[in-house]
């Protein structure tokens, strides 16, 4: 099955004094992938930027660099996308491989070298003994990799509470372990840390989750903001994406924007401003619902 969505992602900053110079980088546009096509995309910034330029990073993710020079006390970054997402068909053979054989270091797989990137610690995902210990029960010898990943997802979902108050965007894996709670980004980081602690490659995926899931399924957590999940390398170009926040493998309710080693590689919006303002506020909204009317189609792709 495939599903077409219209995704509206708006980020608004408000400042208590004028900002004269604002530089930014936004990962907003869903990628084109096997099983996912971005049919249309419109990106807008208010005030109008004096300069903007598309950037493609080392993982092939697309982002936009922009520079606003009009003095402003409000900056609005909006992306509207129409995306067709197919339900994921899992490669059962790949999922049935014992996890030990999927360590990229020393693997014979021709693409293993590129996956090594995702086995190493990264700025927000340090691998401490606590993580090794937490992950260990899932890594039973010879267990099929698909089961390992599903089990990690179950356990994280069961052991950690969804609580936006306990962590921040800069929280690290030890913080999450200590506080036994967090949000989608933290759960993704933790699951990736578990994979890496046992030599597997885990990457961080930033994307969107359908606000109203197809076929009358239950409303999922994390749908009214940017969402994040994890993926485990299965050899070659195959990855198993799993959403520990909702304890399920990713399906046609998930639209992928970008991936990296951790959140820091692909934040939806980051920037640098020059200002005397000391206070600011931020409002983010995401809406992803089935696309029904042609009138919703943005004007450019």
């Amino acid at each position: 099955m495939s599903q077409v969505y219209r995704i509206v992602h708006e980020t608004t900053y408000r400042y208590d004094a004028a900002v004269e110079d604002s530089y930014g980088l936004a990962y907003i546009r869903p990628r084109d992938l096997p099983g996912q096509r971005c049919l249309a995309h419109e990106f807008s910034i208010e005030p109008d930027p004096s300069d903007s330029y598309p950037v493609s990073d080392i993982q092939g993710n697309g982002s936009v660099y922009f520079h606003v020079t009009t003095p402003h006390d409000r900056l609005r970054i909006a992306g509207v996308s129409v995306v067709e997402v197919s339900d994921v068909v899992h490669d059962e053979v790949a999922l049935a491989q014992p996890w030990e054989g999927l360590r990229p270091a020393g693997a014979t797989d021709a693409r293993a070298w590129a996956a090594v990137e995702f086995t190493l610690a990264s700025p927000l995902i340090e691998i401490h003994q606590d993580v090794v210990d937490y992950a260990a029960p899932s890594f039973v010898a010879g267990r099929p990799v698909g089961e390992v990943v599903d089990d990690l997802s179950h356990r994280i979902h069961a052991d950690f509470s969804y609580d936006p108050q306990v962590t921040t965007v800069t929280s690290t894996v030890p913080d999450v372990l200590a506080r036994r709670g967090g949000v989608c980004q933290d759960f993704a980081h933790l699951l990736i840390a578990c994979l890496r602690s046992h030599g597997l490659a885990g990457r961080y995926v930033s994307g969107y989750l359908a606000t109203v899931p197809p076929a009358g399924g239950a409303r999922l957590v994390g749908a009214d903001a940017s969402h994040a999940w994890a993926a485990c390398w299965l050899g070659g170009e195959r990855w198993l994406a799993v959403d520990p926040t909702n304890d399920k493998r990713c399906d046609d309710a998930h639209a992928t924007v970008a991936w990296g080693r951790d959140y820091g590689d692909v934040p939806p919006v980051r920037g640098v401003i020059f200002t005397d303002a000391t206070g600011s506020s931020l409002e983010v909204s995401v809406d992803m619902r089935p696309f029904t009317e042609v009138a919703d189609l943005p004007t450019s792709g």
Binding site: D21, V55, A225, A228, V269, F274, T275, V284
Partner: protein, 876 residues
């Protein structure tokens, strides 16, 4: 070991005892068991050939003469203001934390490299630079070495110098790697080996040039006589390499800048001197801006395009948007400009990946794969722990190996032999947890070179930093370099360069020219920039602010020195307190110093010992308003623009600093004669300084701003002095002494006598010091001068309005004032009208300074990171 030549007959005992010293037969270390360390001077049964000319030239060196040379070397370096800000003495991540500069130390004897030996080393270094260039090019483009398994991916990807954001960025010209530095050490077998590659932002080439300048003055005629290769051609090649890296879109001569982390960074001297040797402006991140798709330099309210950024800021800090968000040293958007190809950043942002010592284990294979050549210059034998067999070797030989993290930002290197059993086990566990992050290396038993210590020559382990820059075909290697030895006070430990805090001395490296080169003459040209500075204006708000404050501080220190001299003179010997009316006059004058310098309570404090207070005013750099603090602030501002100024300013300033430091160390002279001496030396120094400013500085916008700063400061000082002295009318004799001292301190006493004969009265002083346009020390004259200098930097008409208004207001205050009316005292003696007037004038003058700062000296606003702290996860 080289066959030795007999020592020349005339060689002094200093050389004889060096060659026959006992430590030559010390036991060998790991790697070459049984062999003693190689000696740079001694060959079998005599002297190595390359050293004969230098020994012959310096054969008359006796111990006392050596001692004198050491002192002269220190003095010459201090006169050039050469310092090194050691990392570790300040936390670089902590804003406002400042390293304490330590003097750069140069040993008086060079390291000598013979011509044949040099040719071998040069070929090896040239090949290594080509190899590293090929490797860095591949790592950020095709990544063949990774896909083919020539290099393990974890070795590269686990290194913080591997910058993902740099992927796909290229610069113009034939090479991606523009400059490299390589540290060499010579093993017991006599072979030079690579200890470290430096590619992030290689430092030290300008230190090499400075060392050469000093050596040529220490040993006049000697380098010329024995045909030592020159260093200047290297800097010409360097400039050509930078120009060649410019984007194709650059119009005319590419415009380069040297991007520095600031005057307090580790190698600030090297950065500034390199900038002047290359003829590029020295800038900091805030001086540059990315706008409309390219990088510009802020200059006098305009933007000047920049084509090449010679980067001395570590890549991770170079762009707070794409890289470290907490960096205040970078330029937001620089990565994007580099990616678009509108600016070339050199070395490239990803070049730091090459500093990984783990690569050394693989370079022979990489060389075969990328160059099709065998590696000429060996590295220190290196075992990468990510490889199982190599790891077993390291674990088994931990006690005799040097253990290094592949990434020196993550841990220190250690010599296993220095560790306890427990520490070794701990280290084994760390290696076991992240084997890919560690290497083991053989400990090189470094060669020994002669160093002067105490009364004679002693031997010290030596390393040699070499430099190379990209050329059209291959690389140009500097024919020289910087050698380093442990400082005289350091023990000669087995691993002297293992990242432990270590004080080192440097040595100049003399490469002897071959017969052909010697025949055509090496043209021993040493001084100054090799090229003219680029004609385009290099005036960012930060540089202009430094120049403005140089003007203000230089006038402040000079005026204060004069005032202190005259007030001390009025009070006489400090050990004999004045009495009667004189005591009142002296107290009033001393309190005037406190007012002018705003050092309250100062002389107003009850029971203050004038000796202590005078001394504090001279030496206490931590107390705002003192002479010492003014000198420190002046030096700070000078550091920020050191590429713009004649090096003579350091000569002048070091004299003042020495005087202040001497007084601070002395126990004190009760008469205050020592305070007088410091004030006199400061005055002499500052007069020399203004002479340099007048005679040697180009009359450009920066000069006008400096002069404007002096004029503002001078007028403010006169106003403050008058307020605190003539503000009250005192009985006749007291006022006579006070006013006479004020006139002397403002250098106006001769003019005054000519005009008013001997009669001392307030009206005359006010007339002369406030309104006497002909008197160069009057406020009116300074305001007039200010008016003349404003158009020199305020060139943009649309920015002039505020400044014009402020200046008109100050200028107006100078007109149509009646000195007699101002001097009229009230019944209690206070001159209310005068005080009101001076207070108003002070305000107007300060407004001019404020408008200048606001309009021309203010950088961009405060830089802050923008996160989407609420963006991921619902309702954060």
């Amino acid at each position: 070991m080289d066959r030795g030549q007999p020592l020349p007959e005339a060689a002094t005992a200093v050389w004889r005892s060096y060659l026959t010293r006992g430590d030559q037969r010390s036991p060998g270390l790991e790697g070459h068991p049984g062999l003693p360390p190689f000696d740079e001077v001694a060959g079998a049964g005599g002297v190595r050939e390359a050293w004969l000319p230098i020994i012959a030239a310096l054969q008359r060196l006796t111990a006392p003469r050596l001692g004198a040379l050491v002192r002269r070397a220190d003095r010459l370096l201090a006169d050039d203001g050469v310092v090194y800000n050691p990392i570790g003495s300040a936390d670089q991540s902590e804003p406002g934390s400042v390293a304490t500069p330590v003097p750069w130390v140069l040993d008086i004897l060079p390291l000598v490299i013979g011509e044949r030996e040099w040719r071998r080393v040069e070929a090896g270094l040239e090949q290594r630079a080509r190899l590293l260039d090929a490797l860095v090019t591949d790592l950020y483009q095709e990544r063949r070495v990774l896909a083919e398994g020539v290099l393990p991916a974890s070795l590269v990807m686990g290194h913080s110098g591997y910058l993902r954001a740099a992927h796909g960025i290229t610069v113009g010209g034939p090479r991606q790697l523009i400059s490299t530095a390589v540290d060499l050490g010579r093993g017991a077998d006599g072979e030079w080996r690579v200890i470290a590659d430096r590619t992030q932002a290689p430092s030290g080439s300008a230190f090499a040039m400075e060392n050469r300048r000093v050596m040529s003055r220490l040993h006049p005629g000697v380098p010329e006589h024995i045909h030592v290769e020159r260093l200047l051609p290297f800097f010409a090649a360097f400039r050509a390499a930078v120009q060649a890296a410019a984007p194709d879109t650059a119009v005319g001569v590419p415009r380069g800048v040297v991007l520095s982390p600031g005057a307090h960074s580790e190698t600030a001297f090297d950065q500034a001197y390199l900038a002047s040797l290359l003829g590029y402006p020295l800038v900091e991140g805030a001086d540059l801006v990315m706008r409309d798709g390219r990088v510009w330099m802020r200059a006098l309210g305009k933007l000047e395009p920049v084509d090449v950024v010679l980067r001395r800021v570590d890549a991770a800090y170079a762009d707070p948007l794409f890289l470290r968000a907490d960096s205040q040293l970078g330029v937001p958007g620089l990565v994007d400009a580099a990616r678009r190809g509108t600016v070339s950043v050199v070395n490239g942002l990803g070049a730091g990946v090459l500093e990984n010592p783990g690569l050394m284990a693989f370079l022979p294979d990489v060389s075969r794969r990328l160059l099709g050549e065998e590696l000429l210059l060996e590295s220190v034998r290196t075992f990468w722990c990510g490889d199982d067999r190599a790891r077993s070797h390291v674990m088994a030989h931990l006690a005799t190996m040097v253990i290094r993290p592949i990434d020196r930002t993550r841990a220190h290197s250690v010599f296993g032999g220095d560790l306890s059993r427990g520490q070794r086990d701990e280290l084994r566990a760390r290696i076991g947890a992240e084997p890919w992050a560690w290497v083991g290396q053989d400990l090189l038993s470094l060669s020994r070179a002669p160093v002067f210590a105490d009364t004679g020559l002693t031997s010290r382990p030596v390393t040699w930093r070499t430099f190379a820059v990209a050329g059209q075909d291959g690389y140009t290697v500097m024919r020289g370099g910087v050698a380093r030895v442990p400082g005289p006070t350091q023990p000669s430990a087995p691993g002297p360069f293992l990242g432990r805090p270590l004080q080192t001395s440097s040595k100049d490296v003399w490469v002897l020219a071959g017969p052909e080169a010697a025949a055509e003459g090496t043209g021993w040209l040493v001084d100054g920039p090799s090229v003219a500075t680029d004609a385009y204006a290099a005036f960012s708000p930060r540089m202009l602010a430094d120049l403005f404050w140089i003007g203000r501080y230089s006038a402040r220190v000079e005026d204060l020195a004069r005032l202190v001299l005259q007030v001390r003179e009025a009070g006489g010997d400090l050990s004999i307190p004045p009495v009667g009316w004189r005591a009142q006059a002296v107290a009033a004058l001393r309190q005037a110093i406190t007012s002018v310098t705003t050092t309250d309570p100062g002389f107003r404090a009850s029971g203050v010992d004038p000796r202590d207070e005078f001394r504090s005013l001279m030496v206490d750099a931590s107390r705002p308003g003192t002479l010492a603090q003014g000198v420190v602030a002046l030096k700070d501002a000078l550091q920020g623009v050191r590429d713009q100024l004649s090096s003579d300013v350091w000569l002048v300033l070091s004299g003042v600093e020495r005087a202040v430091a001497d007084l601070a160390r002395s126990t004190g002279d009760p008469t205050g004669a020592d305070v007088v001496s410091v004030a006199e030396q400061s005055l002499a120094g500052l007069l020399g300084f203004s002479g340099i400013v007048m005679d040697t500085m180009v009359h450009d916008a920066g000069w006008h701003l400096l002069r404007a700063g002096r004029a503002v400061e001078r007028s403010l000082n006169v106003v403050a002095l008058l307020r605190s002295t003539v503000g009250i009318r005192r009985p006749g004799q007291i006022d006579a002494l006070v006013i006479e001292t004020v006139l002397a301190a403002t250098e106006s006493i001769i003019t005054y006598r000519r005009r008013y004969r001997r009669r001392i009265h307030a009206e005359g002083v006010l007339d002369l010091l406030l309104f006497g346009v002909d008197n160069p020390r009057s406020v009116a004259h300074q305001v007039q001068a200010l008016g003349e200098h404003l158009p020199g930097f305020a060139t943009e008409p649309d920015q002039r309005a505020g400044l014009d208004r402020a200046f008109a207001s100050a200028s107006e205050a100078m007109e149509a004032h009646d000195a007699v009316a101002l001097a009229h005292p009230g019944t209690d003696g206070t001159r209310v009208a005068l005080d009101t007037y001076l207070s108003e004038l002070d305000g107007r003058l300060r407004t001019v300074a404020d408008v200048i700062e606001e309009t021309y000296l203010r950088g961009p606003g405060l830089q802050r990171p923008l996160t989407d702290a609420a963006a991921v996860g619902a309702g954060r």
